[in-house]
Subunit: 334 residues, 2 copies
């Protein structure tokens, strides 16, 4: 069972995933090469190399845990948090700990080992957005869970260990720190100005135009004013909504289009870039709030986090986001 431990001096939790390693030599110092299709457990026809599927979008007539799927969600074989068990909080002297209860799922985005999310056809990409929403709505019924984070690791420098296109979902028994910080900052802004800070960002960005890289009926993508890394991108629904689960069926397509277009620009501007993205939405015990606004943050992994960033939380970004926006738009049109 993984363990959640709290640092009494920082107030922060950490997941100690004991089962994942044992000896110092388990920590490889060099990046591993992607395995190629031979060893890939996610390819079509190898459905029994993953735990049984939780959900899938399938072609008509195809059978659960066999071929014929388009998007497939399975439990992570090596979960950071486990779905079984009670939370049970306890103390050892001044330290607090909890059982590592939660969920860890893999959304396999395509049966094709070599397909990339950003070049899938729009209908297929929309089905992945649909899967995100389905898993989110299903898991939030579990009262032990307080937050659900959907995210993606693409490329070795972004922490991906398998090259087959997939995203992940981890549900946690507490609201993660970075989400809490956003919620608090947004609430302070709301108390002072009476408006959602994200809605204000959206109107300023549309008005200024200098950091806007994509827009459709429902969504927009910007390079944020205070981007912490080069080519950071943020996607937001134009209409106020704190709860990702509220997204309408018709918006799956416009969201997929926004995410695909943003990633295509990024990859054209910086070929072979590794990146992460994650979806921030409201916590499960407070879904509809006037001061928060769900969004996706795309974090390209081009620079190294060094001691200053680790020790301060203050990032040094060598690329002004106005220039990033210009390069991304040039890449799109070039």
């Amino acid at each position: 069972m993984p363990e959640l431990r709290r640092d009494p001096a920082k107030g922060k939790w950490v997941i100690i995933a004991k089962e994942r390693s044992s000896r110092p030599s388990d920590f490889k110092l060099e990046f591993e090469e992607p395995a190629g299709p031979e060893k890939c457990p996610f390819d079509e026809g190898k459905e029994d190399s993953t735990p049984p599927e939780i959900a899938a979008v399938r072609t008509e007539g195809s059978i659960t845990n066999s071929t014929g799927w388009i998007v497939r969600t399975v439990p992570n074989k090596f979960p950071a948090l486990k779905i079984e068990g009670e939370i049970e909080s306890r103390g050892i002297g001044i330290y607090d700990l909890m059982n590592g209860v939660g969920a860890h799922e893999i959304i396999i985005e395509t049966p094709d080992h070599f397909a990339a999310f950003e070049t899938l056809n729009l209908d297929h990409a929309s089905k992945i957005m649909w899967m995100f929403r389905e898993r989110y709505l299903d898991l939030r019924k579990d009262p032990r869970l307080k937050y659900i984070l959907i995210f993606k690791n693409k490329g070795r420098r972004a922490g991906a260990s398998l090259e087959h296109s997939h995203s992940q979902l981890i549900a946690t028994p507490m609201v993660p720190d970075l989400v809490k910080i956003e919620l608090e900052a947004a609430q302070i802004y709301y108390q002072y100005r009476g408006r959602c800070v994200y809605c204000d960002i959206i109107s300023q960005e549309i008005h200024e135009g200098k950091r806007l890289i994509f827009e459709n009926e429902n969504f927009l993508a910007i390079t944020p004013f205070a981007s912490v890394v080069p080519f950071e991108i943020q996607i937001m629904p134009k209409e106020h909504s704190s709860d990702f689960g509220e997204m309408r069926f018709s918006e799956m397509k416009t969201l997929a289009e926004t995410l695909q277009s943003s990633l295509r620009m990024l990859i054209k501007a910086v070929p072979n870039v590794s990146y992460n993205y994650y979806l921030h939405t409201s916590p499960l015990d407070n879904l509809c709030i006037p001061h928060y606004h769900w969004h996706i943050e795309i974090v390209p992994r081009l620079t190294h986090l060094a001691g200053f960033e680790w020790g301060s939380g203050l990032y040094i970004n060598p690329l002004p986001p106005e220039n990033a926006a210009k390069f991304l738009l040039e890449a799109k049109n070039g």
Copy 2:
């Protein structure tokens, strides 16, 4: 001039260091090899390849900016923040920004290109600790500065671009977020229990013994209960002190011994490991406080930060710190 920008939705500042890059191709995707002594600007005899020195420990009779130094501090040639100018805060619509005023210095730890900090003789290593304290005490006279962070990047994966042993110092015009979070958590603990949380950690760690890896007259080193990465190490003075500048002359040697011993164990357990360390002390406008305790955190860079960590701030650590302590002690004795 670098620029400080605040994210209104997160309340976080970022340094936009415009001068550091211009085109997308400036972001190299692969790690660079260390340059070797040929191109190293820090070697003895190349004193004119750095800006003029700010401070140095020198052999008797040697001349400023020439050979004969033991430890040498120079301004960073490509500073993240610049010492000249006024802070000047201003707004653009909902966004806030400030001039990037601060200090960025390099402490060159040895004239020898190939020497490593952890194997320097104790007297030499103590002089580096002395230099940290000297620069800290000097810079804190500047009323524009609110915080001084001393840190080290060792190895390519830790963000080091030069292999010659050196540490750095960045002084900022605001207290960095991660320090604020520690100060707040420590204050909450103090309000509730009337004691410094670090002092309580020290007594529990000495009592339990399971995570204690080194101890001398003045300092101890532990693998923290809620370590966020494998082989994380924390060094603390045993006696309560929030202000690093208060460190006595006699403690330079015991601090150097603790830091060297900790790093030697780490490097023996995981050969060629990249690591960062940084020194957390009280903010400059509130130096002596009962609830805070200065300390050094050593962060080995063995695992990848992935999308989950970026999006949540919740780390997944595959190595329980009790096992890390055991491996470090085995490495020492083995």
